[in-house]
């Protein structure tokens, strides 16, 4: 922290327009998972304008910019995922009012991408020169069915020696994730066969079948230690009031501190699906498309300690929470990593998603503080 400019937060505030303009422009480019090209292109333009000579788009569609350091072979990776949960059909107009910016995806993760796009400019304005290479990664195909494909490709194929990594999320300021929990994510889809027997009046419905599955999942006994939970995150099914639902889909996630419990719970869900299929004769599909192993750095790890110190200097209250996002891919590669948030916000994943402008500067100061701390060798 010694090398940080004293009035960092205030100085960052004076560059507010550049960050907010990047946020608005990035936010207005729709970027559903698997279709992040335009956002990545914007990011690359920013990297090029900032004079990052080694910037490129890789085979997985990630946007990468490298700010060369003075005298180190090591690299610090800053990552923000480029995709959002909103489709191309959503109106992506961003609205700027006095204290907030509102629009779909603004918090998750247009703000993270905007920070990535603005970092080279900010570091130059603050006259911060790094020893390490700073690798800025706009990760494609991260969310949902993307299953961290972008960052995994980058980590598998790059030739850099990445010493530390920070993942940036728009919200919440104070977030400090240093471990990944075990996770298994999937969908269960029930379908009523086309050759439906109408004599079973009122009996067959994809929703009723799915309900049966849900009840059985709910009855699974989960251990208190290691901590485990099943999140039933979304349900979609049927078409109208008076038509029997032909299909219904449950989106779920099993989370646990233990890899074994995740696997055994996954197996139990598979058994439930087979049991209900045989009972009802309906078609039930189980599609597990994402898995994570638990892991991470310890609470006392120097990187973790360093983050808490930076936060304390900036009077940010740390909120410790495990993560299932890109951090998991970094942990798999044994790279000491953290996920940090930039500001406060609300209505996450709704069209009225919003972020507050004022806390952003502190969030940025925190990121720049961490970069300089890592660069200064304080997190070894």
């Amino acid at each position: 922290m010694k090398n940080l400019p004293k009035d960092l937060t205030k100085r960052l505030q004076s560059h507010r327009e550049v960050l907010l303009a990047n946020l608005v422009m990035i936010g207005e480019i729709s970027s559903p998972t698997f279709q992040e090209e335009k956002r990545i292109e914007f990011l690359l333009n920013r990297f090029n304008e900032a004079g990052l000579t080694e910037s490129s788009i890789d085979e997985a569609g990630n946007g990468i910019g490298i700010l060369k350091g003075n005298d180190s072979d090591k690299a610090i990776l800053i990552n923000a995922h480029a995709d959002t949960v909103f489709s191309n059909k959503t109106d992506h107009t961003m609205h700027v009012s006095g204290d907030r910016i509102t629009g779909p995806g603004v918090a998750d993760n247009s703000l993270g991408m905007a920070v990535l796009a603005t970092l080279p400019y900010l570091l130059e304005q603050l006259d911060i020169k790094l020893k390490n290479d700073l690798v800025l990664l706009g990760g494609a195909k991260s969310l949902g069915r993307g299953d961290l494909e972008g960052i995994r490709f980058f980590l598998d194929n790059n030739k850099l020696d990445i010493g530390h990594a920070l993942c940036i999320e728009g919200i919440e300021l104070g977030r400090l994730s240093y471990s990944s929990i075990g996770m298994l994510r999937g969908e269960i889809t029930c379908k009523v066969p086309e050759s439906y027997d109408w004599s079973r009046f009122g009996d067959a419905s994809a929703i009723l079948t799915l309900n049966e599955v849900i009840n059985k999942i709910n009855d699974i006994r989960l251990p208190k230690r290691p901590r485990t939970s099943i999140v039933m995150g979304s349900i979609v099914g049927g078409t109208s009031f008076n038509t029997i639902a032909k299909d219904a889909t449950l989106g779920f996630e099993v989370r646990s501190e233990s890899k074994e419990v995740v696997e055994s719970t996954g197996q139990t869900i598979e058994d439930i699906v087979m049991e209900v299929t045989s009972k009802t004769g309906d078609e039930i599909e189980l599609d597990i498309f994402a898995k994570r192993s638990p892991g991470g750095i310890p609470y006392a790890h120097p990187l973790n300690k360093c983050a808490r110190k930076v936060m304390s200097e900036l009077k940010i209250e740390p909120r410790l929470a495990p993560s299932t996002s890109e951090l998991a891919a970094l942990i798999d590669k044994n790279i000491p990593s953290l996920t940090l948030g930039i500001t406060s916000g609300d209505n996450i994943h709704k069209k009225e998603e919003a972020i507050l402008i004022k806390p952003i500067y502190k969030g940025l100061a925190q990121i720049i503080g961490m970069i300089t701390a890592i660069d200064g060798g304080h997190c070894e």
């Binding site: 560059h15 507010r16 327009e17 550049v18 907010l20 303009a21 990047n22 608005v24 422009m25 207005e28 304008e49 107009t93 961003m94 609205h95 700027v96 009012s97 006095g98 400019y121």
Partner: protein, 327 residues
């Protein structure tokens, strides 16, 4: 080149740009600095709190901080009752109430009043006007308009046009302005000022103009300001003074037809006043060609349609009729 009704297409080809031609902001700023020009951005407002913040952030970031193309950003307000002025001030624009500028003059309310008072209040050699209600705002709305003034000394007034449809079938598509343009202004210009039909969107609220021109023309304070500018600048400086830039899509709230009626009424008043002053109505034979636009690939072409309104006399004047009905 002397522009006459016979070589309008040549004028269009030479003076119609697409904003992407000016993407190199570094080069543009260098040229501007070499010429020693100053540029002011004027955003006329009336209750625009929803969109003004975004406009200022984008222009300030891209065209002040990153590429110093504009020297001042000013909001000139007609007396908003919402948070427009606070938001604008908060994001670093200079804010003025139109009524506070030249306070000894009798106050008038209207967008034209704000545009006119900007000439007095702002310092730039070039003033670029951008409406404050654009929700898809982008720096091109400014650099696309000032660039022809920076690169070409003879150009004095650059007008925006928009609304290239995102999808169309076939090779040729109709292109033009809004409803009032196509129904009122284009037919009027075709009749009385055919040279001005080269301006694809005569009513667009975005334009960049040299001070030497702005200080020489009158400003209707209401709906007629854009129409009057075209007629007056054309009269004083000729069509050679104009250029126009395609700024792609412009998203804003659509006005109901009843409001377009008011707008048309204002425009007609302005038009008639000028046409009378210039003695246009006295011309024995006016034009019978309607000049619309169509786009082939990226080329804008005038589509000339001869419409002659022939008439029959009252039936009573026809001999056969009188015979039949014994009149």
């Amino acid at each position: 080149m002397e522009v006459t009704v016979n070589n309008l297409q040549e004028w269009i080809d030479k003076n119609t740009y697409h904003h992407s031609q000016f993407w190199d902001l570094k080069k543009l700023v260098e040229k501007k600095e070499k010429l020693g020009l100053t540029i002011s951005l004027c955003l006329p407002t009336l209750n625009e709190e929803k969109t003004i913040g975004k406009e200022i952030i984008l222009f300030k970031s891209e065209l002040v901080n990153r590429y110093p193309l504009i020297d001042e950003i000013a909001v000139i307000d007609s007396g908003s009752t919402d948070e427009t002025l606070n938001v604008a001030k908060n994001f670093g624009a200079d804010t003025y109430l139109a009524s506070d500028i030249l306070p000894n003059l009798e106050p008038k309310r209207g967008k034209g009043e704000n545009l006119w008072k900007a000439i007095y209040q702002l310092k730039g050699d070039i003033i670029v006007y951008v409406d404050a209600d654009i929700s898809n705002i982008h720096p091109r709305f400014v650099y696309g308009l000032v660039a022809p003034l920076i690169y070409r000394e003879e150009v004095k007034y650059v007008k925006a046009f928009y609304d290239r449809p995102l999808a169309f079938s076939g090779n040729v598509r109709a292109s033009g302005g809004g409803r009032v343009t196509e129904i009122l202004v284009r037919p009027l210009f075709s009749l009385f000022f055919p040279e001005l039909t080269t301006i694809i969107q005569p009513l667009s609220g975005e334009y960049a103009v040299r001070r030497e021109v702005l200080e020489q023309i009158a400003f209707p304070i209401g709906y007629g300001v854009e129409t009057s500018h075209l007629i007056d600048v054309h009269h004083k400086f000729g069509l050679e003074a104009f250029a126009q830039t395609d700024l792609d899509k412009r998203v804003h709230e659509n006005k109901p037809t009843i409001d377009l009626g008011k707008m048309s009424f204002g425009i007609l008043q302005t038009f008639i006043k000028r046409a009378k002053a210039l003695g246009i109505f006295e011309k024995a034979d006016h034009e019978t060609i309607l000049r619309q636009f169509q786009v082939t690939k990226d080329k804008y072409e005038q589509n000339l349609i001869e419409i002659v309104e022939e008439e029959r006399p009252p039936m009573i004047e026809i001999e056969d009729y009188r015979k039949k009905f014994k009149k």
